[in-house]
């Protein structure tokens, strides 16, 4: 029986992603996060009205893979770019896509102030607790005692400071409307993250304020594990510190 026919198609890579081979390591969650963001925009029918901002870090080349108009920002400055784009083009969907180093270290000021001004943009924050692109150095979100190339004996909190829960931090700002923490390593999580992204795009476009979607993801290369091992390690170690779920909904903190 021939199943492979157009009428039987139930899933294929969206055309909102280019056909270029992703530059990410095998098993890295970035690819999935890219794809679901693009799927959401395609399903909403707003590709022609979207401008994205890529960061510096592993996803510096996001514009090679997302088939939309995009800008590449200086390290940490994506929210500043997005602020201007959205204010100059209020009819567009504007988002940034940033990693933990970009968003929570060098770009902390831009992140917090864009959130505080309530810019009507979406920030997609990929948190894998490490600097992937530069070779596995400590990130602001690196867990206590977690090893990295610049915390080779584990993150000593007394010496190196504490992991920064920037998502909880910005959730307290009145300009921020929707804050959620998601994952993309399993089908249920991917589907849930996609719903969250859709909500974020819709609500920021409705001028309700900034919508912030954190995706806790793996870095199997940086963590020095296989992809599937890294996903299990992430569930056991990252999720207790960075619990999944909504943090702020409709402008109200959850709990």
């Amino acid at each position: 029986m021939d199943i492979i026919k157009t009428e039987n198609l139930v899933y294929k890579k969206t055309d909102a992603m280019t056909d270029k081979a992703l530059s990410y390591c095998p098993g890295c969650g970035h690819g999935t996060a890219h794809r679901i963001a693009m799927e959401v925009l395609e399903e909403m029918g707003v590709i022609q009205d979207t401008i994205g901002v890529a960061p510096v870090g592993c996803s510096v080349l996001a514009y090679e893979f997302m088939n939309i108009d995009m800008q590449q920002a200086a390290h940490g400055r994506a929210p500043a770019l997005a602020t201007a784009i959205k204010r100059l083009w209020p009819s567009k969907y504007v988002f940034t896509y940033q990693g933990d180093g970009d968003l929570a270290a060098i770009g902390t000021a831009e992140t917090i102030h864009a959130c505080n001004r309530g810019e009507n943009i979406v920030i997609i924050f990929i948190n894998n607790g490490i600097y992937g692109m530069t070779g596995g150095q400590m990130a602001p979100t690196t867990l206590p005692n977690m090893k990295s190339s610049t915390s080779p004996y584990g993150r000593d909190e007394a010496m190196m400071g504490h992991p920064l829960k920037i998502t909880e931090l910005i959730a307290h700002l009145p300009g921020v409307h929707y804050v959620t923490r998601q994952a993309v390593h399993k089908p249920t999580e991917v589907r849930r993250a996609k719903k969250a992204l859709r909500k974020a795009f819709e609500q920021s476009y409705a001028k309700k304020g900034l919508c912030f979607v954190e995706i806790v993801s793996n870095c199997n290369s940086g963590w020095k594990m296989t992809p599937n091992q890294s996903n299990i390690w992430m569930e056991e170690n990252m999720f207790p510190y960075y619990p999944l779920g909504d943090i702020k909904v409709d402008g109200q903190l959850v709990k």
């Binding site: 590709i47 979207t50 939309i68 108009d69 800008q71 590449q72 920002a73 400055r77 201007a84 204010r87």
Partner: protein, 354 residues
């Protein structure tokens, strides 16, 4: 009207789409004027006080990437903070306007007028091989006119433009004739003008537009650099502006710009009263530099003296282009001090042993 206010009003009148900036003396009047004037009601222009100069310049990067007409203003320490962003803007070939109302340096320096950011403005300032279009007003009238001029050149060549003013011209009040309001472009007009490169949202009818200064393939990056250099050559051929004041019969020339050129104009007058045939060559564009004209003048003049409110920066470009064909001397005051016409004349007489 103050020079700073004239630039702010000119920004509204030339149909700018957005201003993003951060307060710093001696240029805060630009943002203050805009906030009082509410251009979002007059023309639809966006005005935003950013959290820092770093954020400001990156807002300019974001805005300019979409083809909109955007500007920022700051003063020396703030402009230093912006250098990374300016390098990105130059690399990504984006039109925009950056106003630098220069104050004394280095470091936090002081808040008095200075010209000690010349190197930073004309030699790049940030990393990589690039130039900005740099134009220096010496009056409030020019402060207004050059906003329009700078945007025209910025969009013609897709290059960041800088107005290098200083604390004196920024704060000085003079009569100014403002040009009439130019209608701000509609989104459709922006797309028609800049849609081939700007990120305005990807319609199905074209490939996606990407604004980036990243090129990981060395040969491609070198080609891009060659393209930039070709553009700079073209600008050097077509966009140089200067003013020659009593240069025709002069034996010696002062070379100056901005506030120091105003001072030198008086020096020329004083010299002429004493029978010294002195003229003033006033730079208007600092980059492109009037290379050719300086070289020509070097053949007929007995000597040049660069006069700057710095310890000697522009003088190097004068020397480079005089090419040893005439003596080049320098007189400068720094720390925020404006030289007076008599001390300039004294310096001239001493250096040329008259």
């Amino acid at each position: 009207m103050k020079g700073n206010e004239a630039m702010a009003e000119a920004a509204i009148r030339c149909g700018a789409d957005g201003y993003f900036g951060y307060p710093i003396t001696p240029q805060s009047e630009v943002l203050e004027y805009l906030m009082v004037e509410k251009p979002w009601e007059r023309t639809g222009m966006v005005v935003l006080q950013a959290e820092s100069e770093v954020a400001s310049i990156n807002m300019i990067y974001g805005g300019a990437s979409t083809g909109k007409k955007v500007l920022t203003s700051s003063s020396s320490p703030g402009i230093s903070l912006m250098q990374e962003g300016i390098s990105y803007l130059a690399g990504a070939e984006l039109p925009c306007l950056i106003i630098n109302v220069v104050r004394g340096g280095p470091g936090l320096g002081d808040i008095q007028p200075s010209q000690s950011d010349y190197f930073q403005s004309v030699k790049g300032g940030g990393h990589g091989d690039y130039h900005m279009y740099v134009i220096a007003p010496s009056s409030v009238q020019e402060s207004s006119d050059f906003v329009k001029k700078a945007f025209e050149v910025a969009f013609k060549y897709r290059i960041p433009a800088m107005i290098q003013s200083d604390g004196a011209i920024g704060q000085m009040m003079e009569k100014v004739e403002l040009f009439p309001q130019i209608t701000r472009r509609t989104d459709t007009e922006v797309i028609a003008e800049c849609g081939s490169w700007a990120t305005t949202g990807k319609p199905t009818t074209r490939e996606r537009n990407i604004i980036t200064s990243l090129d990981l393939i060395p040969e491609k990056l070198e080609n891009h650099n060659h393209k930039l250099q070709a553009k700079y050559k073209e600008m050097e051929a077509n966009e140089v502006i200067f003013e020659e004041i009593q240069c025709d019969d002069a034996e010696y020339l002062l070379v100056a710009y901005g506030t120091s050129a105003r001072v030198c104009q008086k020096t020329v007058q004083l010299a002429r009263e004493k029978g010294i045939k002195l003229g003033l060559f006033r730079l208007i564009t600092l980059w492109p530099f009037p290379k050719k004209r300086i070289e020509e003048l070097a053949l007929t003049k007995k000597g040049f003296m660069a006069v700057e409110m710095s310890e000697g920066q522009m003088v190097e470009d004068v020397m480079l282009n005089v090419k040893g064909k005439a003596p080049v001397e320098f007189f400068g005051r720094s720390g925020g001090i404006i030289p007076n016409p008599t001390e300039v004349l004294n310096a001239f007489e001493q250096k040329f042993r008259r």
